[in-house]
Symmetry: C2
Subunit: 374 residues, 2 copies
């Protein structure tokens, strides 16, 4: 009867050629959820519509006042901070688009078996908190620091490894005058909801969600590279399991469009009637601002330029784009493709890797236009 | 090229014997979401954790002030009410547990192909609004009324039928001194979130979610039974497609337990270490109060009585229960079974029907208890 963690926690695998989504993937899809694409209309994603991914259980925090965030390791003045202490710092608010690194995974062939995202794992919120660089300045980072390690209160087992969720940032991302990493206590003007890290979480503008450690309880400065599970086993680009792999970091460019017309309940196929329509959506990139969005209404044969709204004050938030289309009866495939100011663009062939990370293959939205009067 | 709605909207079907969850079901699972079971700890489900099911798109309401709810049909004084008019009525607040009629569907064999719920399609909120009977009294229901029909602003096509979402209640459920149906404008003290019906929705305590029409824009009293799609095609108990079927109405009894210990990320298997644990969960029924919750820790061979908290003032809300368990190394299957005051209880064999409705088969939670010190 002796059971070990390896008995309940199997290695990562790929789905077989004809393998549908399994019960395990469905259980993840029932807990976690994406942004319903029609909610791309909102500049700020309303509460409950922002994507959520939790690796383990959402910790239950009965009393915020007893929560403590420790700042230690290679620092001269270790800190212990309650949420109220963090609220006493001058507050900074940033509008940030946040996307799961696994977004697009379930569209890959072969499919890595994990949280089966289609394209909806995104959302935009205004996060308010304390710049991490201020906390680390108060603590006094010692010379020789390499990584800053962040530990959440969420606990589980993954691929045989029991762990608290833990990720690191290179010290130059965490500190310095231009660093805009936040320890956030507020989301869209309200205390963090439980599923978004109540009472405290990290916000790392431009990076995929795995870096934004939720239920943050410890920050440790180290003088050697962090080698924990979520840094060196998970969230790596690999073609073969034995590779070390490059780390997943910042968000690749992506545009999404609000599916026009109305859906069929089951197939989710979109239905429109003939006539002029304005297509609309959002685009973002974690490395350089989005500079261009191209639209195809014929499955990628022809492309036209969308009108992209100015970024305004929100460097880290998605940008709205619009495109005029006249629908005629028949079948259409709509596509939207973002390019950033440094020339990165979305691929037309899938960017496959074993973890199913950063699949920013261009979205395809099949639309059926009925005959007039039907 | 002439396309018709029937081309994009197929009849209901059952999955084949070895058919995994398909792309269409996954698309529904990515939009809609359940209650992460650890959130059963909260008396009131926090924003964003309550289950959500929308048949079509979530309507975008840019300006609540221009919303209008019409009350008409067989009434002497038709009404047109803005949300502000409804807020001017004396407010009633009810704590209500709400469950999707399709909860449990994906656990059925064979599986009806639709929104693939496991067991998490539930949540509890405090809904504030105007008793429907007061609105109907103001409108003056004419003699001979049979049904009251509710129309939402959500529009789509389903099994070939283009429609606004529309459901009816028998007039005796809608009016009368004991009727506690609400037209709600507030959820947990805040305006309704978009996905829960902003600005107005129906709340029908004790009934499955399909009756709680969201984005409510019309109430029509009729002198004949309503025969719309969601009343006579969907939400019926059928063994064969050609049957008329009985309507789905009130929630069957169900208990759910908070899975103990911690999860494996992928399999969601629960892991505990040996020792005393308190199992905890919730139970509800839409017909009569829950009177009893029984727990099995050995896959249904033996059963013990859980301690059920008194219902207190909240007749329509779930009740908390607790059960002491001492975990010993090995494999265990935990189960919780609710019985209501009129003797209805949860089945141990699946209550199969073609729509996959009201599958309140007892939940099974596999738990692995490790050896001490492992």
């Amino acid at each position: 009867m002796g059971r070990r963690l390896s008995d309940v926690s199997a290695p990562a695998r790929l789905a077989g050629p004809d393998e549908g989504i399994g019960r395990d993937e469905l259980a993840l899809a029932a807990r976690n959820h994406g942004l319903p694409l029609e909610a791309l209309r909102y500049d700020l994603t309303p509460a409950g519509l922002h994507y959520v991914l939790t690796h383990y259980d959402i910790p239950y925090v009965a009393d915020e006042a007893s929560w403590e965030l420790a700042v230690g390791g290679g620092v001269r003045r270790p800190l212990r901070l309650a949420p109220a202490d963090l609220r006493a710092y001058p507050a900074v608010t940033l509008r940030v688009t946040l996307e799961c690194a696994g977004n697009g995974r379930a569209l890959l062939t072969p499919r890595p078996v994990s949280q089966p995202w289609l394209v909806e794992a995104v959302g935009t919120a205004e996060w308010t908190g304390v710049p991490l660089r201020l906390l680390l300045a108060d603590a006094g980072v010692e010379d020789g620091a390499v990584d800053v390690v962040f530990t959440g209160a969420d606990h589980g087992v993954e691929r045989g490894v029991e762990q608290d969720y833990r990720r690191a940032l290179p010290v130059d991302v965490a500190v310095g005058d231009r660093a805009d990493v936040l320890v956030a206590h507020t989301m869209n003007g309200a205390p963090l909801p439980p599923q978004h890290g109540r009472p405290l979480r990290l916000v790392v503008p431009g990076w995929y969600g795995m870096a934004h450690v939720k239920w943050l309880r410890d920050i440790t400065v180290t003088d050697r590279p962090f080698t924990g599970f979520q840094q060196t086993v998970a969230y790596r680009f690999r073609q073969h399991p034995e590779e070390e792999g490059e780390p997943v970091t910042r968000m690749a460019p992506r545009a999404l469009l609000i599916p026009p017309g109305f859906p069929d309940f089951m197939s989710r196929t979109r239905v429109v009637r003939p006539g002029a329509l304005e297509l609309e959506g959002r685009a973002w990139s974690g490395r350089a601002p989005v500079s261009r969005v191209e639209i195809s209404t014929d499955g990628g044969r022809g492309w036209g330029e969308a009108e992209v709204e100015p970024a305004g004050a929100h460097r880290w938030a998605w940008r709205r784009w619009r495109f005029a289309w006249t629908a005629v009866p028949g079948d259409h495939v709509l596509m939207a493709r973002a390019t950033d100011a440094e020339g990165r663009t979305q691929p037309l062939d899938q960017p496959w890797n074993r973890g199913g990370f950063t699949n920013n293959l261009v979205q395809r939205v099949p639309v059926v236009c009925l005959e007039s009067g039907s």
